[in-house]
């Protein structure tokens, strides 16, 4: 994989005030043209899972149903991620435009933003922006409405099927898949559910065309990505960067000169130690192979003053609380991992117990019902394997 140099971009946050024009342009295009544009742009879901957006829209469009929905997932709960909030504050129109385009293609009359409870303070401004957008839709005679649904403090509701359950008045417990949301989503109707940033990117593609987007990034990771940078950095914040950078380049730009590890992708992501910075590339391709890491955009930098035991302990406490609790590996597994590292640290269990915990994490990865339980192993294994001494002494 060719390595791209880190580059700060300004596609997403450029406030262009031409929503009406772009919307009109989109509405006059054929559905096929839009889907083809999205597919050839290489845009993939920016929530972290990386499903090709154009394909998702196409699959939902192909479903036969009298009711379909487009839902914008703004339940940004992954520790270390705050980019969606920034997008909703600065360029909400782009998100609405993406939703309207999707509605046109799949045939939805109604769309929702699932806004996490922690972001309730954004609601007033968002509603105002939506009202203005509705006027644009009316001018174009396009029958589509966007509503806001507020979350109430549950990380798991960022999982798409848990989000639907939550909207339907239930506990936010992930469903079995299949069926997938494109077949049976909200109200068991075909549903497109996209991350805030993904929808905003569609705007850039509609406006600047496929090539501008495609030329950014590498191989299977096209376009730019908004990163949430936090931790031991002199310049924490939101940055739009190109895919394909090495972690080394990233740390050189953002670290405080003493970075010993970077957590890529939040608590459910991977911890990369200093010795692997050079070999690690940020992008979708080679998912889980160890040389390239997908991410929802969270980059947490830890310098050498930090105890990686404390970091892992904090993550595990988070998972123990935020697991929905329905499936065995996740509900019980997270508790065992947390208690286990505590007991090893206190010397109540031998250090060899960590191997049993690594094995448990692997079991969770291959047997848990949803992404939460499956991805606990990411941070657990990468921290325990790379910082074993810190776990014991």
């Amino acid at each position: 994989m060719a390595t791209k140099h880190l580059m700060r971009l300004d596609l997403i946050f450029k406030n262009e005030r031409d929503t009406a024009d772009i919307l009109k342009k989109v509405m006059t295009k054929s559905n096929n043209d839009i889907i083809n544009e999205l597919i050839s742009s290489g845009l993939k879901g920016r929530g972290g899972a990386g499903f090709p957006t154009g394909l998702k829209w196409k699959l939902t469009a192909d479903e036969v149903s009298d009711e379909k929905y487009i839902i914008c997932n703004a339940d940004e709960g992954e520790p270390g991620t705050f980019k969606d909030r920034e997008i909703l504050v600065r360029v909400p129109d782009k998100v609405w435009t993406g939703m309207a385009a999707c509605a046109k293609i799949i045939g939805a009359k109604e769309g929702f933003i699932y806004l996490r409870g922690e972001y309730d303070f954004l609601k007033k401004e968002l509603l105002k922006s939506i009202d203005e957008f509705h006027l644009l839709l009316d001018e174009l005679n396009f029958p589509f409405r966007i509503n806001i649904f507020s979350g109430s403090g549950a990380y798991i509701c960022g999982e798409e099927s848990a989000l639907f359950e939550s909207m339907q008045g239930d506990r936010g417990e992930p469903r079995n898949k299949p069926p997938f949301p494109t077949q049976k989503g909200y109200r068991n109707k075909p549903t497109v559910i996209n991350n805030v940033e993904t929808l905003a990117h569609t705007y850039s593609i509609f406006k600047y065309g496929v090539d501008i987007f495609r030329d950014l990034g590498v191989q299977d990771s096209r376009g730019s990505k908004v990163f949430s940078v936090s931790g031991d950095t002199p310049i924490p914040g939101i940055y739009e960067l190109e895919f394909g950078m090495t972690l080394q380049r990233f740390v050189e730009d953002f670290g405080d000169g003493d970075a010993k590890a970077v957590q890529v992708g939040g608590a459910s992501g991977f911890c990369v130690p200093r010795k692997k910075f050079e070999k690690t590339i940020i992008g979708y391709q080679g998912k889980l192979t160890g040389t390239s890491l997908p991410t929802g955009g969270s980059m947490m930098i830890f310098n050498s003053s930090r105890s990686m035991y404390n970091v892992l302990h904090n993550y595990l406490e988070f998972f123990v609380e935020e697991s929905c609790g329905q499936c065995t590996p996740c509900r019980v597994g997270t508790q065992q991992l947390l208690l286990g590292i505590e007991k090893v640290k206190r010397g109540e269990l031998p250090s060899g117990y960590l191997d049993k915990l690594l094995d448990l994490a692997e079991t969770m990865r291959i047997t848990a019902k949803c992404g939460l339980g499956q991805s606990v192993a990411n941070s657990f294994s990468s921290i325990v394997e790379n910082f074993k001494e810190e776990m014991i002494y």
Binding site: Q326, C327, R365
Partner: protein, 596 residues
Amino acid sequence: MTTKVNCKIDNISVSVEQGTTILEAAKKINIKVPTLCYHEDLCVAGNCRVCIVEQVGTDRLLPSCATPVAEGMEIITNSLRVRNARKRIIELLISEHNADCTKCFKNTKCELQSLASEYIFNDEGFINLVPYKNYKEVHLSPSISKDDSKCIRCQRCVRTCSELQDISALTVAYKGANMKISTFFEKPMYEVVCTNCGQCVNRCPTGALVERSYIDQVWDAIYDSKKHVVVQTAPAVRIALGESFGLPPGAIVTGQMVAALKRLGFDSVLDTDFSADLTIMEEGAELLNRLRMSLKENDTTVRFPMATSCSPGWVKFMEHAYPEYLDNLSSAKSPQQMFGALAKTYYARKRNIDPKNIVSVSVMPCTAKKYEANRPEMHASGYKDVDYVVTTRELAMMIKQAGIDFLALPEDDYDSLMGESSGAGVIFGATGGVMEAALRTVYELVTGREVPFEHLNILPVRGMESVKEASIVINNPLPEWDFLDGVELKTCVAHGLSNAKMIMEKVKRGEVNYHFIEVMACPGGCIGGGGQPIPTNYVIRKKRTDAIYSEDEGKPIRKSHENPEIKMVYDDFLKEPLGHKSHKLLHTHYTPRNRY
């Protein structure tokens, strides 16, 4: 038209209908995949993860209960990866479970225990989480005991309570490590809308939900020489008890059961079927009385449809959910309570025993009967009419405790006085049975002729359909009933409380005009009761039902009003249905209850 899909499971090719799960496909070719949260009667949850299997070429394992077969799939149910992962998952469940197996009611009957026995677990398991859990005390109701420390959160009970019964007294509460199965605000079971039907008990894989046991109290009574202990056995016990001794579902063991009860030391072994016949006399008379008041005397306060009241789960459901319809319930007590009231009055007098020395025990396919016996109004005899209720399962335990070789027992007969019954009393055990029994008697009382069905078998009210409707037109009645001439008697039969709710909503909306409805709280009626041998599923319930009807066919007397002991109890004691004494002993009232 159904599409077929082909796959290979453990290298064996199998072709199944589209939508079939891997688990079902494996079962078809006799490959057993272990399960815990899966239950044939319920929707798929896919949360225990015990049934995981490997798809060749796929990184993650698949829950076989929740994954439909796809064309060309290659599945391995027992690869090393699967075995190791499954072992870990069982270990996790055990770490959260109060594995005090030798002190558990479900010892040797626990699905988690038997799953664990297939793997070797040693002391190197995970950390025992039970001490960290702050499990509350065991929640008791007169019927059901709920012990959270033994719960594995499979949610079978929650799905049972919502899908089969539409009650949702149990729910999943909190999340993460604190997630638990809970009642409303974690109140005790006896305070909430729970109808005590025990369907959750039937489906709980562990000892988390079990019946409240009265075995010890019954033994104490039996061994107390001053006490005269009478026992009654419900219709559905005799066709299910055998399952606890390895017989196939539907085996009829009436004679062995009676013999076993005598060996256990009961002083008199009598039959609830007798009082089922009595129920028909009283309930039938009540129905005719309501019809007379409504049609002849134009009394507009008479409530229709009249509803049966023998299922205590259904009665409690009405008290919680439809308090404004309590007058629709027949005031006739259930057979168990009629029996209890007579045991300490009629029976005591006839046998010349001081009722205070009588201990009245009933063996029921039901957990709700335990609650019913404990209702404060059930003291018509001046004493607690039914002292202890044990389930079919508890009776099986008592027989085993006594060292009785059940299968080798010679058949014996019920004792007399309250031991004789008609086939109509027997079919009380199946959905539609009370209706059929009532129609056999009511029609004949009114017309002087037998019901116009071949061999008295009223087939339209039989079977496992969730709701059955039937009507009979009354022609040429006896002069006393001339106001019923040409009247079409409309009836409806439902089993399972979700179906009951559906019917009641229709009644509420005025969409139906039934005269008489029969509701049994449990799927299939009492044969599927919450006190019956575990497991339960559609096939088992069907076989038990068939057995009930064959027991009926074999009876020389098939109609309640022809039971000689029934005639005798009216001649010698009660005088007439709905009479003064009947009213005092055999009828009851109901209590509106809260909504949670």
